[in-house]
């Protein structure tokens, strides 16, 4: 009886750990999945055919166009690389908010014909023409790059400028990071100082990098850093407190943690290498938001890998066990593209908060997504709108056909 009580307690603790989603426990749960295989193979082949195939084939080309346009926008209109280098679209693999870092997939080794490493520490990382940070170090195998984001006090200062009107005289400044206070909102903030003029910028003024190559700094010019923040309360009788001599805060233009893609400064000719595995979806298990694959870590599947079926987005691997894995069917944050019937592409999540102002999708718009390794993929269509945002009609994969698991 005593033994049973202890075992009951252990079961209860394991349940709570599973409930709060502790990774190793979720992975251990999947150890029972191989018991499904004998019956699954038989039943899956007898499932009814999916009727979405025709739609997927029709929408594949627009989805590819949508992702191509999105990729071009992420690369930006300003070349975010020093002379002799170029930019490459790479996926963001993870983030560490505590260290204020991003983890990017990186091309490996030396670029063909370039005679230099594909990625070097200090390489520029940008998104949509906005400077995000610099490569801090590469992993031992060279396939991952850790990126220190702007705002870290230890990061190098950036030579910048702002200009009140096009063609006007630019005010030169230095932008650096700081931890102004103990609260979360005061950590990793950007400030500009050492201005060449006492002219005070208006709130909202954009600040961008400037060319200081004569001083040996080859940071490309024209990359946006942020907008001048509010200078505080208005004084009695009108006017603002003189900000001259103090550091002016900058408001970031992008949330670096919600970007699934970034532009990385690399040697010309560099390319990412992909890892691909074919697999089958389990047809005899039911899940509204998750599907099961019959391959796991033994076949090299990793968390975050994308699963596709032809031109259809199926999901992203979420839980990996040795012989099976679970994938979430939700499109990753920041990776959903809404394409209107006129061909306009907007990167917006299903939730209303992520939508640009004065924009609303229409019923029937294409929901596309994509990654560097898969290209553009069909995710579904806008079935309607509700108070929360988009009501999506997702196109479903056919469990009788193979899927491909793709990752860096």
């Amino acid at each position: 009886m005593g033994k049973n009580r202890w075992a009951g307690g252990a079961v209860a603790i394991a349940c709570v750990l599973s409930l709060i989603g502790v990774g190793p426990v979720r992975s251990a749960e999947e150890w029972l999945a191989p018991a499904l295989i004998p019956l699954d193979g038989l039943l899956t082949d007898l499932l009814p055919a999916q009727e979405d195939r025709e739609w997927i084939d029709t929408l594949a080309e627009p989805a590819a166009r949508a992702f191509h346009a999105h990729g071009k926008a992420v690369l930006g209109t300003v070349l975010a690389a020093a002379t002799g280098r170029t930019t490459l679209l790479v996926p963001v693999l993870g983030a560490d908010a505590e260290k204020h870092e991003l983890l990017l997939a990186a091309p490996q080794g030396e670029a063909a014909g370039a005679g230099s490493a594909a990625v070097e520490p200090g390489a520029v990382v940008s998104c949509r023409g906005v400077l995000l940070g610099f490569v801090r170090e590469l992993s031992a195998d060279g396939l991952r790059a850790s990126v220190s984001l702007l705002g870290l006090p230890s990061l190098r200062p950036v030579a910048a400028q702002w200009c009140a009107a096009p063609g006007g005289r630019a005010v030169e400044v230095l932008v650096s990071g700081s931890n102004a206070g103990p609260t979360e909102s005061q950590r990793h903030t950007l400030h500009m100082g050492s201005a060449s003029s006492r002219v005070v910028p208006v709130p909202g003024q954009l600040v961008s990098t400037r060319d200081v190559s004569a001083l040996g700094d080859h940071l490309p010019a024209g990359l946006l850093l942020g907008a001048v923040g509010d200078r505080g309360t208005e004084l009695h009788g009108g006017g603002w407190m003189d900000a001259g001599g103090t550091e002016t805060p900058l408001v970031p233009l992008l949330d670096p943690y919600s970007q699934p893609l970034a532009a990385l400064e690399v040697a010309p000719g560099s390319a990412l290498t992909a890892r691909a595995t074919t697999a089958r979806l389990s047809g005899s298990t039911a899940g509204a938001t998750r599907l099961r694959l019959d391959v796991g870590s033994r076949r090299g599947v990793q968390r975050g890998d994308w699963v596709v079926q032809g031109h259809l987005f199926v999901g992203v691997v979420d839980v990996v066990a040795p012989f099976s894995s679970l994938l979430s069917v939700d499109v990753p944050r920041g990776a959903l593209l809404v394409m209107s019937q006129a061909g306009e592409v907007v990167a917006a999540d299903e939730a209303r908060e992520s939508w640009p102002s004065d924009w609303e999708p229409a019923r029937g718009d294409l929901l596309a997504t994509g990654s560097v390794f898969t290209g553009g993929l069909v995710a579904g269509r806008v079935a309607g709108l509700d108070g929360d945002g988009i009501v999506a009609q997702r196109l479903r994969p056919d469990p009788r056909l193979d899927v491909t698991v793709i990752g860096p």
């Binding site: 049973n4 075992a7 079961v11 349940c15 709060i20 018991a35 039943l43 047809g283």
Partner: protein
Amino acid sequence: MIGLILITLGLGQLHAFSVAWVGAWLPDPFIVVAAYAALFWPAASLPFAALALGWSRGVLHTESAGAHVLCVWLALALVASQREAFERDKPSGQLFAALLAALAFCGSAWVLRASFGTPVTAGLPLLVGALCVLPCAGLLRRAGRTARRRL
């Protein structure tokens, strides 16, 4: 326990397959196995029966196994505590036990979803599934006798 796991997985797979052809309203036979465990499984090792049933159901529905184990555990404990009040060998007693287990499972699933946000599949198919006890009454009675002899 291994028998419980295999029966739950097999029935669950056949149910998921049938749902693809027929529709989501199809009765879920899981509650029959749960009613059997609640009525005939030794009370001291009921947590292990809950573990076997809940883990299998969690794997089938690709949801948190821990959440399913907790729901099953509560349902089994509730029915088992009233075990002597049911006429275990009669179809009517087994039906009431299955209905009570289904209600307890659905209620605890709702509480877990509301408090933790963890999805646990439960609802009408499970409640209607309790009716599956009626054609299986003889089988449950015989399996119950075997369980009482062996466990």
